[in-house]
Amino acid sequence: MRLAYLIGLIVTVWTGTASSLDVEEYKRLEGTGERVLRILSTGDLALFSPFLASFHARNPQISIEYSVVSSGELHRAIRDGANVDVAISSAMDLQFQLVNDGLAKSYRSAQTASLPDWARWRDQIFAFTAEPAVVVISAERFQGLPIPETRQEVISVLRDNPDRFKGAIGTYDVRDSGLGYLFATQEARSTDAYWRLSEVLGRLAPRLYCCSGQMIEDVANGQLALAYNVLGSYAAEQAANETSGRVQILRMQDFSNVILRTAIIPATAQNIAAAGAFVDGLIAAGQGNRPGSWALPLLDHTPETTSPGFGPIRLGPALMIYLDPLNKRAFLEEWENAMVQRQTP
C-alpha cells in the first residue's frame, strides 16, 4: 500500500525483516520452542529488560527478539509490512495512524477488556503506560534562581538571565523526533504559551536532540541547564541513577502533556498467540500486576485522578491532524521560524 502523503521521506523497499532497520539496541532471549516473538519498540532496553525477563520466565518456550528503533523508523517499518509481531511506541499519533489505516490486527482478551475506554481503540491499540512530559533542570545551574512552576515562569527566568542560559537549553528536534513533534503539536494546540516560549528558547540558541536520554544525560553532566519536554519515565530513571542530586524534575503546573505508550499487533504479525500474550502482559504490568519487573510508569498512575484537565492525549482520529503533510509543513515552518532561524542571527 502506498500512501501519497509520505512526502519528505525516501520511499525505501524494505525486505520485511527487522535486521534491515536502523536498530539502536537489540536483545534476543532464547526460548525452548521454535516460535520467535519479534518486537519493535521505541522503549530503551534499560527500561524494558526486567519486563522482558519476567515475560520470558513465564513463557520459556517463546524466543524473543526485542529491537529498539526510533518512532519514525518503527512507523515506516510497519507501514512497509515488516515482519513484526508487536509494535510498541510512545508516538501515539503514528501508532494511531497505523491502526486507522488498517495496519493492525484486532485482539480481545480478559486483559484488554479490563482497560478503560480511553486506553484502547477498536481493540487494536492498547495503552499500557501514561507518561507526562516534564522539564528537567540542573539544580546547580539554577542556583540562586527561583524554580519555575509554570511556562510563564520558565519564560520569565530565561528572559531575565539570557547569559546564564544561552546555549544551555535543550529540547527535541521536532523535525527528527516523532515524540518531540507530538509533544510540540499537542502543546501548541493546548496553550498559547508554547509559541512565546519557543520564541524565548530560539533566542537562547537551543540545542536540539533526537531523544530524551541524551538530553537528560547532558543535564546530569552539566552541559544543559534545562531540558524542555522530556519523557518523564526516562527522567525519573536518570534521576534515580543520579547520586549528585543535580537533576531535578519539574512538572509544569499550568499544563502538562501526558502521552500513552501503546502497543499494536501489526496486520502482518506471524505469531499472533504470542503477540497477544505479550500485549496481555504489558497491560497487566501497566496496571501494577507485575511488581518488580516494571520500570515504567503505571497506566492508572495518571494525573487524571489527581489534577483534572491533565488527562492523557486522547486516542482518536484527531491525532492524525498534525500528521497531515500540509499541516506538518505549516507547523514545521512556524517552528523553524521560532527556533532555528534565531540561532544564527
Binding site: L3, G102, W121, G316, P317, A318, D324, N327
Partner: protein, 458 residues
C-alpha cells in the same frame, strides 16, 4: 373420545402468533429507525467535519492552501471509534489525504457547489460513508474547484444499531411474553362458557335429561341445541326401552292374571277335594312364577340403577312410612299389626332403590310372620349412620349361617310352604351396598323373631 388439538391451545397459539408477529415487526421497525437515526447522526458529523475543513480553504501566492482543524477530526472521534479517511483535491491535483479514496464525482440535481453531498462506498475493504464539499477557490486567474471529502467507516452505526436492536429485541420479547400471558387469559375467558356447559353436563345425574338452559355465546348455540336434541332423543330411546320391558311384562302377566282369577272362580264352584287341591297348586304355581319374574326384573333394575347411582336427598323416615303403608293391607289380611316408629333422617341416594330394599325386607318379614303378630319398623339415627330395622315375631332366621341368606336364591331352612324366590334379601343387599351401606341380620329384642337392619351413613 378422541381429543384432537385443544381449542384453547389453538386460540392461544393463534393469538400468541399474532403477538410474535407484532413483536418481530416492532423489533425490525425499531432496528430500522435506529439505523436511520445513527446514519443521520454520522452524516451530520461528517457534514460538520467537511464544512470545517472547507472553511480553511484560501489562496496564498496563487496557491490553494488549507489546514485541517483539530476539531474536524476530534468531532468524528467523539461519536464512535470509526476509522477516518480524507482527501482534498484541487481541480485534478491531490492536495492531501488518501489518494486512492474513490470519491464519486459530479453533483446531483439538487447538489451544487457549497452543498455537502454524501455517498456510500468502500475503502480498504471496509464500508464507508463519505461527505464531500466542493468550493471554488481563486487560484491564479481562474477559480479552481476544490473538493474536500471526509469518510468514516460504519462500525459505530452497526454498534449503535445492534445495541438498540438488542434493547428493542428485549422489549419485543417482554411485549411478547406479556401478550402471550394475556392471550392465554383471554383464551381461557372466552372458553369459559364451554367449560360451564361441560361442568353442568358432567354434574348431572344419569336420569337428568332435561334441556340445558345457558346463556351461550352465538358460536356455542348450535352445540347447545344439538346437545339438547340429543338429550331429547336419548330420553325418548330410554322411554322406548322402558316401554318395551313394560309391554313384555304386560303381555306375560295379564294372561297369568286371567288364569289366576279363573282358577279362583273355579275353586269356589268346585266341591271335590282333589280338584280343589289341584286348583290351589295351580294358583300357587302362577304366584310363584310371577313373583320370581318380578323379582328377577327388580334385581336387574337394581343392578342397572346402582351403576350410575343418583345422590338425591332421601328421608328414610318417610320411605319407611310409605312402605309400611303400602304393605299394610297385606299384613292386615293376616291380622299382622305394623308398628311404625320413624323420624326424619336424610341420606343421599336413589329413593327408588332404597324404597325397594326396604319393601323387600318388610315383605319378607310379613310373609314369614305368624298370624296375629306384630312387625315393627324403626328408624334410628345417630351421628354417622341411619338404621332402619324391621323386627318380626316369627320363627327367626334359623340357626344356619345367617350371612348366606342374602345370597341369590338362598332361602332360610325353616320356610317350607311359603312362596318365595329367595331373591328378596339379595335385592335389598345389592341396593344398600350400592349406597355404601350394609344389611345386618339378627335376632329380635328378646331373642325371638328376626331383626333385619338396613344401615346407611347419614
Amino acid at each position: 373420545m378422541i381429543a384432537t388439538t385443544s381449542l384453547g391451545r389453538k386460540l392461544t397459539l393463534l393469538l400468541a402468533g399474532v403477538a410474535a408477529l407484532l413483536s418481530v415487526l416492532s423489533w425490525s421497525m425499531v432496528t430500522g429507525l435506529a439505523r436511520q437515526a445513527a446514519e443521520r447522526t454520522q452524516d451530520n458529523v461528517l457534514s460538520a467535519s467537511v464544512t470545517t475543513i472547507a472553511e480553511t480553504l484560501r489562496t496564498e501566492q496563487g496557491e490553494v492552501r488549507l489546514e485541517l482543524p483539530y476539531s474536524a477530526f476530534s468531532m468524528l472521534g467523539a461519536i464512535s471509534q470509526d476509522r477516518v479517511f480524507y482527501k482534498v483535491v484541487a481541480g485534478s491535483r491531490l492536495l492531501t489525504g488518501y489518494a486512492d479514496l474513490q470519491v464519486p464525482s459530479g453533483y446531483g440535481p439538487d447538489q451544487g457547489p457549497g452543498r455537502v453531498r454524501f455517498a456510500t462506498g468502500s475503502y480498504l475493504g471496509e464500508d464507508i460513508r463519505m461527505a464531500s464539499l466542493t468550493r471554488f477557490v481563486q487560484a491564479g486567474n481562474s477559480p479552481v474547484p476544490v473538493t474536500v471529502t471526509v469518510a468514516q467507516t460504519r462500525y459505530g452505526i452497526g454498534a449503535i444499531t445492534s445495541d438498540l436492536s438488542r434493547h428493542a429485541a428485549g422489549l419485543s420479547i417482554a411485549f411478547f411474553l406479556v401478550a402471550a400471558g394475556l392471550t392465554s387469559l383471554v383464551a381461557r375467558a372466552s372458553l369459559r362458557p364451554l367449560k360451564t356447559i361441560t361442568a353442568d353436563v358432567a354434574r348431572r345425574g344419569p336420569a337428568d335429561l332435561s334441556p340445558l338452559h345457558h346463556k351461550a355465546p352465538a358460536e356455542l348455540a348450535p352445540l347447545l341445541d344439538a346437545l339438547n336434541r340429543l338429550m331429547v332423543r336419548l330420553g325418548q330411546s330410554i322411554r322406548r326401552s322402558e316401554d318395551f320391558i313394560a309391554e313384555a311384562a304386560h303381555r306375560v302377566r295379564t294372561p297369568l292374571a286371567t288364569v289366576r282369577v279363573q282358577a279362583e272362580i273355579l275353586l269356589r264352584a268346585t266341591t271335590g277335594d282333589a280338584e280343589r287341591q289341584r286348583l290351589r297348586q295351580m294358583i300357587r304355581a302362577v304366584d310363584e312364577s310371577s313373583r320370581s319374574a318380578g323379582q328377577l326384573l327388580d334385581h336387574a333394575t337394581v343392578v342397572y340403577r346402582a351403576e350410575a347411582l343418583a345422590r338425591d336427598p332421601v328421608d328414610l323416615g318417610e320411605v319407611a312410612r310409605q312402605c309400611a303403608h303400602a304393605l299394610e293391607p297385606t299384613a292386615a289380611m293376616r291380622d299382622i299389626a305394623l308398628r311404625i316408629e320413624t323420624q326424619r333422617a336424610i341420606v343421599r341416594g336413589d329413593p327408588i332403590l332404597i324404597d325397594n330394599a326396604l319393601r323387600n325386607i318388610l315383605d319378607n318379614a310379613i310373609k314369614y310372620s305368624p298370624d296375629d303378630t306384630t312387625v315393627t319398623v324403626r328408624v334410628l339415627k345417630d351421628v354417622e349412620t341411619v338404621r332402619v330395622s324391621v323386627t318380626d315375631q316369627g320363627p327367626g332366621l334359623g340357626n344356619g349361617a345367617v350371612e348366606h341368606l342374602t345370597e341369590r336364591f338362598r332361602r332360610g331352612c325353616n320356610v317350607e310352604g311359603i312362596v318365595g324366590s329367595g331373591l328378596g334379601l339379595t335385592i335389598a343387599e345389592a341396593a344398600i351396598q350400592a349406597h355404601g351401606g350394609r344389611l345386618e341380620l339378627g335376632k329380635g329384642p328378646e331373642g325371638q323373631g328376626a331383626c333385619v337392619s338396613l344401615i346407611l351413613s347419614a
